[in-house]
Symmetry: C2
Subunit: 226 residues, 2 copies
């Protein structure tokens, strides 16, 4: 109770299975007394492209545009575009980030990847000049909750889907200092029975009930590659 | 000579190191007698978001929008949006696809991920109803050419960066039936000497000279995870 949750949601259709998972999370976490914010990326028409438009006013080096340098400089002088500042504020306030999306090509849909690319800029999410490598989002938790098109077997190599979680969980969140909870994966909801779908929705509700008691994964290479 | 190459390029700045790598590839491959096409995604303001706008005319199921279903149906009746049809035509004609980009968060920039999400739709790039799993882009080669922000050591776990290539090379290209050449990686061009940068550009030119003699990697889990 009192915890703040940001759900970054990337599906076009409220009536989708992802839409149901979102609804459940909002309802269950609200019921627990959490304050829940949703960034509904498609509804917001969130911009995924990393361009000069993300910097308000002058550039640090207008001769040759370097996105990483320019957003870092802009962050320091309060010159990032309004949509990014708003997302960063939501992240800053959140105790838990939930990413809810359908797996597209072994990864996030582009609109969600664009959220990572543009919101998590240097100065805000990490600082490479710091001795420890510099994750700045310490004290936060995250959870990747996604659906797949294919069955569990389709994604498993050597028995597991974890291989494809490395860039998302380790490369992004762990790098920023965010602790990672076990992913929540619903396999092939479009290809199973209505009964099975209901079971999957119930399982999500059940997991959310005890979510705050969970220990994060250690997020080391061993977790992914054994 | 006579081979067709499509370079899908994702950098905002022509004067960047990625811009130099692109220029070299266009020049060297043209000199070899190849026909080279470039999709300059930022310059095209390529749309990365997978939305209803990708389907011209009526939807198969307007009650609940399902992107995978709708684009498959639209592909079959010739009802995909113009920008997608144009990219698919370029892919169809190409013998070799080169993806040139800066690594963003252990993966592609969102604008390039959006190209994968939107261009490689069912019916065009793969067909899950086929017995063999259905890669439809047989007979083509691809090559991921990218720059990193950090040093080689920063990306290596257990000595190698290959772990993060799994979703891109295997999950996307191999799945579509495209044979994958060794990636071409330029580490931290912004943080090395001018001399070292020149060496990296020369190495790219040299590699391109003998590219057509290369054998593809086998792209099995062993290549990535040993």
């Amino acid at each position: 109770p009192g915890k703040k949750v940001l759900i970054v949601y990337a599906h076009q259709e409220p009536k989708s299975f992802n839409g149901s998972l979102l609804k459940i999370a909002v309802e269950e976490l609200t019921k627990q007394g959490c304050s829940v914010t949703v960034s509904d990326l498609y509804a917001m028409q969130f911009e995924p492209r990393a361009t000069r438009n993300d910097i308000v006013g002058h550039l640090h080096n207008p001769e040759a545009f370097n996105y990483a340098v320019e957003t870092w400089e802009a962050y320091k002088r309060g010159g990032l575009s309004k949509d990014l500042v708003e997302e960063q504020k939501k992240v800053q306030e959140a105790d838990l980030l939930i990413f809810q999306f359908p797996l597209f090509w072994f990864s996030m849909p582009a609109i969600l990847k664009g959220w990572m690319d543009r919101v998590l800029v240097q100065g805000f999410a990490y600082d490479l000049t710091k001795a420890n490598g510099g994750g700045l989002l310490q004290g936060k938790l995250c959870l990747f909750s996604f659906t797949t098109g294919g069955s569990k077997e389709k994604y498993a190599i050597r028995g597991d889907i974890r291989y494809l979680l490395w860039p998302m969980q380790h490369g992004i969140m762990h790098f920023c200092g965010v602790k990672v909870l076990e992913p929540h994966i619903c396999y092939a909801p479009e290809h199973v029975s209505e009964e099975k779908r209901k079971e999957m929705l119930t399982a999500w509700t059940q997991r959310l009930k005890t979510l705050w008691k969970e220990e994060p994964i250690d997020c080391s290479p061993d977790w992914y590659f054994k």
